[in-house]
Point group: C2
Chain length 417, copies 2
């Protein structure tokens, strides 16, 4: 069987399994998640042995230390997967939730019922725990899943897949509910993203170049974010202590994350007051500053170029721009933001109201660190990713983002007049 | 300027205008709608004169009577557009609606705010009133719009466009908020659907071949429905009078509409009772019946082929299949339905509950005619179309389907711990 045939077969099987899992009760789905957790717990030695094959192969192939690190599956990592499964099992089932059921003038009742999307394709890189994270969210939301992990994690992912199979079998769900692609042939990705008959949504997780390629070539909807170029704007009516805390936290709490601030915008009216204090704070944390001309008049730092405003550093580097007012701040954001998360620090009610209404990003905040843009912090319980698109799902995507709503109509013999 | 440059320019202008219209108050948007209505009312003679140019050209080009009919703009048609604008003005503004605002354990408040999508591209065929229908819904939902009507309606659409311009100018909104493409070059459509930087969503309205072509070639999300192959399933525990009324109404209330029933599924337990009565009812209305072998054993009718189950007749033709039980009915629906609307007629609670949960269509009904699947009947006030996709918008799409939700976070100096 060639790759194309193989992927088509997975797709057909997933489409069939999708009807079963969509109709499965919350109890059965939860039990499946707990059985998978049990299977992982009982196969620790096997999982670690299979993972070590990947680690050895990775080192031979010359993967860098960071890559090998992400690839490694430890007992703590297995604990994390088990805990994640239990948490997802404990979340409320999004499916079947019926809202807005109202009587219409014709006498029918009309409402919306939340339902699974169908088949979700997940494409990801080296971390084997993504197999469990993604599979558990898709299963809980009543979807069938096809997972395509990185070739460097093939043994680990297949070992995890066996645990999933055991769990599904225990509760009588079809094995095709969760399928982990067995081939490392790259053509499998190209097939997966161009099977609209069998796959309803693609969720890619990985580096920007992978996601760009998938978005360009996919013929089905892709839930994705490319960049997190997040801004914090310190208004002239900001509380300076809050401004300091938020500006430091948004940049330095963690560097390699998409919701970290990359550009700080400072109103000219408070720049001379706040920037020296911030420069000292950032200096203590080892953050490199790159400022506009006005910033450089106030603090010593490198010069920021046009490119800096458009860069997601994912590193201890921050660009700083002094702006005339909120309009300049919002225009800068509209131009350079990746529409991930932006925050304003202000005590002025009207300014805050304008910012939160007019800024067009997936998360818009007042007086809070951009680091809060996260499914757990938003109370979603778990997230499959963060969407910077506006279609279907936006911002942190939890179980609800993996579902759709159908209309339901309850009549009692009603006909159109 | 070539077509590509022209469309790029429209796109750039729309993107800029989108920021303005997104920030416009409900009052300004409503006033714009009413000013457009006024401009239409005051330019009736001009509108009808321009329309007659299209009618003459259409007849010369040999358009059939039905096409010419759809193209004609009468005083009653203008009244309809004016009334439509007033109705949309009277609808609640979806933008800014903030829901689910809750305190999180960290102390931040997190909620969702409904916001415009940005720029919407509308592609449609001959009816000039679509220009107003679509523009009014997009404007009310805070989006900029690029409308591309059929070449056969170019004079009518440009005349309507002038009224829109007048209305927008009266309230100080940018002219680029609503742009009606001035060229009849077919390449304009190809450009419009492949400008993801400038267009966020495409809504095509027209025949199946147009919509299929657009869906295949578009690089942005398309909100669409291709077919309405709707089913009514008469369960063996149906109330026979309700079953009769619904089966007759779903087929014969109107034939050329997407929510008309195309296939009737009848439980074998009641087929002998209900089919002769239905055959008489359909016979009186002049509906041609095409049945499966079992149906043909009970009533006289043509034989239904495999193709019949997959056909949207949009005509007084109905295919009928006798099924063993609800499982066979739902399997038939899963295979042949276009996921538009399906209805079950039953008095059995458990059977109804299963049908409404398991059938995966944009509208699923109990004891009601499929003809209710409509934005007005569902209380949306107006609809831009019906989506048979699951992503973003499903079923009748009103103002809400033209919007997205962003997350908002209200803190008071909160940082991640």
């Amino acid at each position: 069987m060639n790759v194309s045939e193989y992927m088509q077969t997975l797709g057909q099987q997933a489409r069939q399994a999708a009807r079963h899992i969509a109709a499965a009760s919350s109890g059965v789905k939860n039990q499946a998640l707990l059985e998978i957790a049990k299977a992982l717990d009982e196969t620790r030695d096997y999982l670690i042995a299979e993972n070590s094959k990947d680690l050895i192969a990775g080192k031979e192939k010359g993967l860098d230390d960071a890559m090998v690190d992400r690839l490694a599956l430890t007992h703590a990592g297995i604990d994390g997967m088990i805990e994640g499964l239990r948490q997802v099992a404990a979340l409320p089932d999004p499916c079947g939730e019926t809202t807005d059921l109202k009587y219409m003038p014709s006498g029918i009742q009309v409402g919306k019922m939340r339902v699974p999307l169908g088949v979700i394709g997940i494409i990801y890189e080296s971390r084997p725990n993504v197999t469990i994270d993604a599979a558990s969210l898709c299963l809980k939301s009543g979807n069938a899943t096809i997972l395509r992990g990185g070739s460097e994690a093939i043994h680990s992912n297949q070992a995890v897949a066996k645990c999933i199979e055991v769990g599904l079998a225990k509760v009588g769900l079809p094995a095709a509910t969760v399928q982990v692609v067995k081939t490392t042939d790259r053509a499998a990705v190209g097939e997966l993203i161009t099977m609209p008959d069998y796959v309803d949504v693609i969720v890619p997780r990985g580096g920007k170049s992978l996601i760009e390629r998938i978005s360009r070539d996919a013929s089905v909807t892709v839930i994705k974010h490319l960049d997190g170029i997040c801004h914090v704007y310190l208004d002239d009516e900001a509380d300076l202590d809050k401004a300091y805390d938020i500006a430091i936290n948004a940049k330095t709490h963690r560097y390699g994350v998409c919701n970290a601030m990359e550009t700080l915008l400072v109103h000219q009216g408070i720049a001379a007051q706040i920037l020296p204090r911030l420069a000292q704070g950032y200096g203590e944390k080892g953050v490199e500053l790159r400022g506009c001309a006005q910033t450089q008049n106030i603090i010593q730092c490198k010069s920021a170029t046009e490119e800096d405003w458009a860069t997601e550093y994912l590193a201890p580097i921050l660009s700083i721009k002094v702006v005339a007012d909120i309009d300049e701040a919002m225009t800068h954001i509209a131009h350079f933001s990746s529409a991930h998360s932006e925050s304003i620090v202000t005590q002025n009610y009207s300014t805050g109201r304008r910012f939160i209404t007019e800024v067009d990003s997936s998360s818009v905040m007042i007086n809070a660190s951009t680091r809060f843009a996260d499914g757990f912090e938003y109370g979603l319980g778990a997230e499959i990713g963060i969407s910077t698109d506006k279609i279907h799902a936006r911002g942190p995507v939890g179980l609800e983002g993996l579902t759709s709503q159908k209309w339901i109509v309850l009549g009692d013999g009603h006909i159109r007049q």
